[in-house]
């Protein structure tokens, strides 16, 4: 018999926290699995720092290229090692040539602002298993101002009746740069798999208990 006041179990790994909440309520227990994302505000600042570093490196390369026109490459390196004053003068000259500096900094800043404004920040994704009824998939978004100010935003919910689910599966997904695990539902009379977590990529250790719970609820349904 399930204790109605059972403590939820949690797993934390990286930015993801898994919370398993079994609550007792009429008519039967509802099995809830949350994947919560904890984002640090330092993320935006770190990205800013990398962007500035990138802009500085571009500046130095441009400086070297400009001096390359006058001197052969080998001589350029030697003269620059012993001639920091000349390099400082060149920096000033470059900055004075505003069009080049403005283009460089403009692109970097625009890229940063575009990235921050278009990011969809997901706060949490949940799987609510309603025995003999169905599975509800929920995604909670955050509203943000360039990743700095964050407030609770919209929620997207998707209900799947239990008789539509053929099987939950753990899939390995391959992209051009990485591989990751995903939990999907095979839906009857549909070719496409339904992703349980559409925005997040939680680790396999968090997906397995959810997969087992889904399998158990579907097997119970068809065992009756």
């Amino acid at each position: 018999m399930v204790d109605p006041e059972m403590e939820p179990s949690t797993i934390t790994k990286g930015i993801y926290t898994y919370v398993h909440d079994v609550s007792q309520g009429p008519p039967e227990s509802i099995d809830v699995h949350h994947i919560i994302v904890s984002r640090s505000r330092a993320g935006g600042i770190i990205f800013c720092a990398y962007a500035i570093l990138f802009a500085l490196i571009c500046l130095l390369i441009l400086l070297l290229l400009q001096r390359c026109k006058a001197k052969p490459f080998g001589m350029l390196i030697i003269s620059n090692i012993f001639n920091w004053w000349n390099m400082m003068n060149d920096c000033q000259l470059l900055i004075q040539d505003k069009s080049v500096a403005v283009v460089l900094w403009g692109f970097t800043l625009a890229g940063f602002l575009l990235r921050q404004s278009r990011r969809k920040l997901v706060m949490k994704e949940s799987v609510i298993i309603l025995p003999a009824f169905g599975v509800q998939l929920e995604t909670f978004y955050m509203r943000h101002f360039f990743g700095l100010v964050q407030v609770s935003g919209r929620t997207v919910r998707h209900f799947v009746p239990i008789d539509k689910i053929l099987k939950p599966v753990l899939n390995e997904c391959v992209t051009p740069v990485t591989c990751y695990w995903s939990l999907s539902l095979i839906i009857r009379e549909q070719e496409q798999l339904l992703l349980v977590f559409k925005e997040l990529y939680p680790p396999i250790s968090m997906l397995v208990p959810i997969w087992k719970a889904l399998c158990a609820s579907i097997n119970e349904e068809y065992a009756d």
Binding site: V174, P176, C179
Partner: protein
Amino acid sequence: MSQQKKHRILMVSDFFYPNFGGVENHIYYLSQCLIKLGHKVVVMTHAYKNRSGVRYMTCGLKVYYVPWKPFLMQNTLPTFYGTLPIVRTILIREKITLVHGHQAFSTLCHEALMHARTMGYKVVFTDHSLYGFADVGSIHMNKVLQFTLADVTQAICVSHTSKENTVLRSGLPPEKVFVIPNAVDTAMFKPAPERLSSHEIVIVVISRLVYRKGADLLVEVIPEVCSLHPNVRFIIGGDGPKRVRLEEMREKHSLQDRVDMLGAVPHAKVQSVLITGHIFLNSSLTEAFCIAILEAASCGLLTVSTRVGGVPEVLPDEMVVLAEPDPNDMVLAITKAIDLLPQIDPLVMHKRMKKLYSWHDVAKRTEIVYDRALRCSNQNLLERLPRYLTCGAWAGKLFCLVMIIDFLFWRFLQLWKPDREIEVVPDIHLMTKNEDTWDSSADESLN
């Protein structure tokens, strides 16, 4: 006696199933036999049309179809560093101990071997083809091969001729190169249950109809043989740009009833075509090994082949008649083969092939190469860089720069996504017939 250590091997090539060919078959059969020896094998190749992601083949052979689309002759676009993230992820999540690349013409293979060496893995390379030295394409390919093989742990070639060719092209020390010939699946390529009648001689040709496979020679040879031997018939399987020439020849000499053109023959149907013939004709202009004549010999056919590349090393003298890649010489060889036919027993030939060639033998020999590779010492970047300098005055420095940037990129990836964040995949053990319950080791490793 200590148990032999089992390896976890990543096979990398642009050439794999669902395509069929010598390299593809080699990788598949070798992987299957290595799995039977207890090793873990994973294959990495590029995506084919909508075949993308992870697939499992017979005996649990795991294949990563990485969604890098091929851009030229089945090869992925060479990006130098673009494949580093996915190669690193696969190596870590599958706990790979050794990387085995196949085919000099595969860009994915070269990049994967480069990244694997950067990350400190031992690498083995198998060369399946012969290349020239003089034309522009060969010069560039040989330079790329020099770069890859400058730091390879061990190399494998499919024939002694191929070894000589690879050593000359790449500058690799010969003591690093092993010769392990290909094999044939004799269970699949069996002779016809009943011996064919000898009043009509059937000569079978199955190959891609391209210049390299000597299709132009066939155009000269077939009419000559048909005029000399009225009881000879040809069956030609395969497709390619030279098919038109063969059909024109057939029309010109009115050989429609004596030359059958089957078109492309699926690999599964090759045996059924071979057993309809007495003689197998191979007119290739260059071959490192030639698995096709092995398949023909396994089906009990007497082979007539051009004496090129590694072909003379493949079959015993009594099973093959060799000729120079010249139409007159080939006609003489076919005449000689027709005279030898009464002495040929297809079943005896098949049994002999069974003893001579076996993929299990290839796997055991490859295992020895892997053991040798893993015994080599580990070297850091500074110790490995001087090997690239020997590749050329300017090329050497460029290769060093490429490896330094690769190393820096790898370190950046380690900071961005540390190794501990890449989850290791559990080993899934397949159920055998004797097991009634699911193997619980997968569940345990997932937990």
